[in-house]
């Protein structure tokens, strides 16, 4: 343990919590306490400052040794016919270790946030897209179109870091950039330009977002619409948006899939993506699907390279099978198909869903339960307690994570490997 008296300050710390991998945080560590001194926000501050509570594993609420907890977890998995693993919520190594175990026990890999990720992944695998990254956005975007999402609620520093930056590589004055919110208004002023220009906001009722996307896509293709409004928005206004994108040398269209929370939202995402693809016949435009908080893109990336599929993969038949509907933890629990739940979450302290089946939680210290799981093994956080790697939302940049403190917490990867060895 480090001594509690001398605090240590770290600069340029990368955040695994925010999905945009801000790596300019200044962080003070004193004993097990962590404080964000600079460049924190409403996502990264609670992410880093979550206090360490438990350091000892428990079985049915009773403190036990790590070895006992590992043995009990292994026993549950040996008995289980279909264990479902979810959370993830993890860095590269934690995910690697989990997938080795899931493969061995014939379980299912799912993620707490898979539902939103799948809205994008289904589009990728059905029609593809033309995408861009945060660095291109920062240096190149002329018009930013936000579809059906409130960015700053989920990504508080998005505008500061990538839109209202001070300078760009290609001589553009970022302060002159245009922001259009289509379908939903922002909750705050992050999208207001440094010289006080407010974004253009075109609102519609949430249930009309699919219609709006379809109209946008049709207009981008050059169709003329008979209707005068789409989703309550005058078609002339939408024509103005498409025209603005067509006149732009480089536009970026973004959305937060987690906020497009309605059935078959993938079809709406697809319309938006196809509008962008069509724009590229004449000019340049690209999509940037936002997401990736708490390592969810990370776990999905690792799953993709190790199994060939991005998420919701079952090993029950001895080889990986991808099914974004059948391998949904909520469904497996509700239908009684899963007979053990393993929750692996080293970034987020959010608790697993309550389940009637035996639950093993390999989770961030500080996790609180409505229903105590059969086994709880508190683990440290990659980027605070251990080295590791995390992806940001564009899935291009993987950021190294560094150990900042040592308060004796083990890593999820080592717990998962120990369980695998005990089988």
């Amino acid at each position: 343990m480090t001594d509690n008296i001398s605090a240590k300050v770290w600069d340029n710390v990368p955040s695994p919590f925010c999905g945009i991998a801000s790596d300019d945080l200044k962080i003070e560590v004193s004993g097990s306490g962590v404080r964000v001194l600079a460049n924190g926000d409403a996502v990264t501050i609670p992410g880093f400052e979550q206090p360490v509570t438990d350091t000892a594993p428990r079985i049915a609420g009773k403190q036990v040794s790590l070895d006992e907890a590992v043995q009990r977890a292994a026993a549950i998995l040996k008995e289980a016919r279909l264990p479902v693993f979810s959370g993830f919520g993890t860095d590269v190594n934690d995910t690697r270790a989990a997938l080795a175990l899931i493969d061995k026990v014939g379980g299912v890999f799912d993620q707490a946030r898979a539902g939103s990720g799948v809205r994008n992944l289904l589009v990728l695998a059905d029609s593809g897209w033309i995408a861009t990254t945060l660095g291109e956005l920062k240096n190149r975007v002329e018009v930013l179109l936000v579809f059906g999402s409130d960015i700053e609620a989920a990504f508080p520093r998005f505008f500061e870091r990538f839109v209202w930056n001070k300078e760009t590589l290609f001589g553009q004055d970022p302060a002159k950039r245009e922001v259009i919110y289509l379908g939903r208004a922002p909750s705050g002023d992050a999208a207001v330009s440094p010289d006080g220009r407010r974004p253009q906001v075109i609102e519609c009722a949430p249930q009309h977002l699919p219609e709006l996307a379809a109209a946008l896509s049709a207009l981008a293709r050059g169709a003329s619409l008979q209707a005068e409004t789409a989703g309550g928005v005058p078609v002339a206004v939408l024509e103005g948006v498409v025209d603005r994108l067509k006149r732009s040398g480089y536009s970026v269209v973004t959305w937060v899939a987690g906020q497009l929370d309605f059935p078959h939202a993938d079809l709406t995402v697809q319309q938006v993506c196809q509008a962008v693809t069509v724009l590229n016949k004449e000019t340049r435009a690209a999509v940037l699907p936002l997401g990736g908080q708490d390592g969810d893109r990370t776990a999905s990336q690792v799953c993709a390279w190790l199994t060939g599929y991005p998420t919701r993969v079952s090993f029950a038949r001895g080889f990986p099978e991808y099914d974004p509907y059948l391998n949904d933890t909520a469904r497996l629990l509700k239908e009684g198909e899963a007979d053990a739940l393993v929750w692996v979450s080293s970034f987020s302290a959010a608790a697993p869903p309550a389940a009637e089946i035996p639950a093993v939680v390999i989770g961030r210290s500080g996790m609180r339960f409505d229903k105590e799981p059969e086994v709880f093994i508190p683990v440290g956080v990659p980027g605070i307690d251990h080295a590791g790697h995390t992806y940001r939302c564009d899935t291009v940049v993987a950021m190294p994570l560094y150990p900042l403190r040592d308060c004796g917490l083990t890593s999820a990867a080592s717990v998962l490997a120990a369980i695998e060895r005990s089988l």
Binding site: N93, L124, W305, V396
Partner: protein, 555 residues
């Protein structure tokens, strides 16, 4: 551990051994002259078997962002080729863009012990390394992509001193733990972001005002002056465009004698003759290669069937996306650094263009005289998945088989090709050059690709068969660093390979300049961009092997 391999017929071109019966000895993972009287712990009777060094694939897309995009793009391709967990092998999936574990198993099962990822973007190099770390049984390495990155183009367009460019190139190689430099559609990936749709060799980039020719010369010179063993690895302009044979010939002459490797040259060897305005440029390309000793190539052979093309060339992948099969594709602009395009494709033997592409690749193999300067690739997965290598080897070694295949393809294409009149058949010795000795020499791997004393004991033992496809599909034994990992085409032990790198020297001044640049324009800090040794080695699987550069020795 002492191992004796007794009585095999050895093909070891690096040491001039051509089909002689030899005993080989392994001590602690290395080949030695003899066991100095000691009794071997293990002896393998290799009488009647063919012995070569482990094969090296010097251009294969096995790790990095675009490979994982390809994986996510094609779940149906994976569903058709599941790899169940069996024995020591974990589950995965195969075909066009296999999972990393399956990639390693299947390469090893064919006798490959090393593969090099040719398109590692600087900002995505970390991912490429993490994926390659999950490829078992193989040594790996990567060529880092420059030439469409803003920092380099800015240096070039402002007329910077070559020394400064060399410093930047060296810094990039070291920071990304690379083995060499790749350039893809020089300047073109960047130009596409400025809405240029083509960039010919002497065409100016709309923003920087530099041409691909200038980019190639500057980078080739940097690589040469830094003493990086692997010459500049070039994916040229105008990939897949009819008439690009002229561009390729101009690229060869334009490099003015500097060492240059032209990759997947098949895709750059198209003429515009005939009614269809699409013809083979292979003869002219081969003639130029035969005449220019500074040039090496790999072919990028296409083979018929479904695959996926994954390339850094966002400009031309976008231009060709209309041919996607199935009809879906991804293009990406990446970090003012690079880009990528992933387009699934089905090569059809009855399609005129595809059939002629097949002929052009094979003509190239057969017309280039020096096997030390031509390498066996399909540009996996772009021309075909790497699992088709044994079939390709048979096409090269067996003229009657080749002509049988030729008689089944689009007849118009077959009639236009000279393939049927080419009698050459590759020998085992020449195959060993192309897939082992030559590849190791091209990369500067002094202790791989051969069977002399001191070499790492990466060894593949085949059972000689008339059907070379069968022979190269299932080796009798494969040793990785002296450990038996494959027996009769089945994996019997899992080991993890090494990461091959070079560390050219540079003046530290470049880093201060880059630090400021990262702070102002990038989205990550320079210190977080640089890949540390612990990231590769700390989990105890991969070891970093650093090969020497010979700075100043070759100018």
């Amino acid at each position: 551990m002492l191992i004796k391999l007794t009585g095999g017929t050895v093909y070891d071109p690096a040491n001039g051994v051509n089909g002689q019966v030899r005993n080989l000895f392994i001590r602690d993972g290395r080949i030695v002259h003899s066991l100095s009287g000691a009794t071997p712990d293990q002896e393998y009777d290799l009488r009647g078997k063919v012995v070569m060094a482990g094969a090296i694939d010097m251009h294969t897309h096995i790790g990095g962002g675009k490979v994982t995009i390809a994986r996510n793009l094609l779940p149906e391709d994976h569903r058709a080729d599941p790899e169940p967990r069996r024995g020591l092998m974990r589950a995965g999936c195969g075909h066009a863009a296999p999972s990393t574990l399956t990639t390693g198993y299947r390469y090893a099962e064919m006798g490959y012990t090393a593969g090099f990822e040719p398109a590692m973007l600087p900002t995505n190099a970390r991912q490429a390394h993490m994926e390659m770390a999950d490829v078992p049984l193989m040594d790996v390495g990567g060529y880092v992509m420059l030439g469409s990155d803003d920092f380099f183009l800015r240096l070039l367009s402002s007329g910077s001193d070559q020394q400064l460019i060399n410093d930047y190139v060296a810094w990039t190689i070291r920071s990304t733990k690379a083995m060499g430099i790749k350039v893809v559609n020089p300047g073109g990936i960047s130009a596409f972001k400025f809405n240029q749709r083509m960039l010919d060799l002497d065409e100016k980039h709309a923003y920087y005002g530099v041409t691909p020719r200038q980019i190639l010369k500057s980078l080739a010179r940097a690589v040469h002056e830094l003493g990086v063993p692997h010459p500049l690895h070039v994916h040229g302009c105008n990939l897949g465009v009819p008439g690009n044979v002229e561009t390729t010939l101009n690229t060869i002459s334009g490099i003015e004698g500097l060492p240059m490797h032209l990759t997947h040259i098949q895709f750059h060897s198209y003429g515009v003759e005939g009614d269809r305005k699409f013809s083979s440029g292979a003869a002219r390309i081969a003639e130029a290669i035969n005449a220019n000793k500074n040039i090496t190539i790999d072919v990028g052979q296409i083979l018929f069937g479904q695959t996926v093309t994954a390339s850094g060339d966002s400009m031309l992948q976008h231009a060709h996306a209309g041919h996607a099969h199935p009809d879906k594709w991804v293009c990406m602009d990446i970090e003012c650094d690079a880009g990528c395009g992933v387009v699934p494709f089905k090569y059809r033997d009855k399609n005129f263009v595809n059939a002629l592409q097949w002929c052009i690749g094979l003509e190239t193999f057969l017309l280039v005289e020096d096997p030390w300067r031509v390498f066996l690739t399909t540009d996996h997965p772009n021309g075909a998945p790497f699992t088709s290598y044994p079939h390709l080897i048979r096409l090269l070694m067996d003229k009657s088989f080749r002509n049988d295949m030729l008689s089944t393809i689009n007849p118009e294409a077959a009639a236009l090709s000279t393939l049927g009149s080419l009698d050459r058949e590759y020998s085992l010795y020449e195959i060993a050059i192309m897939t082992r000795a030559g590849a190791a020499r091209l990369l500067g791997l002094t202790d791989r690709g051969h069977l002399g004393a001191g070499a790492a004991a990466d060894i593949t033992v085949y059972t000689d068969q008339a059907d070379k496809e069968k022979m190269f599909t299932r080796p009798a034994y494969v040793f990785k660093d002296g450990e038996l990992v494959v027996r009769n085409g089945e994996v019997v032990k899992i080991v993890w390979g090494n990461l091959h790198t070079v560390r050219p020297e540079f003046d530290g001044g470049i880093e201060a300049r880059l630090r400021d640049y990262f702070d102002r324009y990038h989205t990550m800090k320079l210190d977080n961009f640089i890949i540390n040794d612990w990231e590769i080695e700390d989990d105890g699987r991969s070891k970093i092997l650093v090969h020497p550069c010979h700075q100043g020795a070759r100018s």
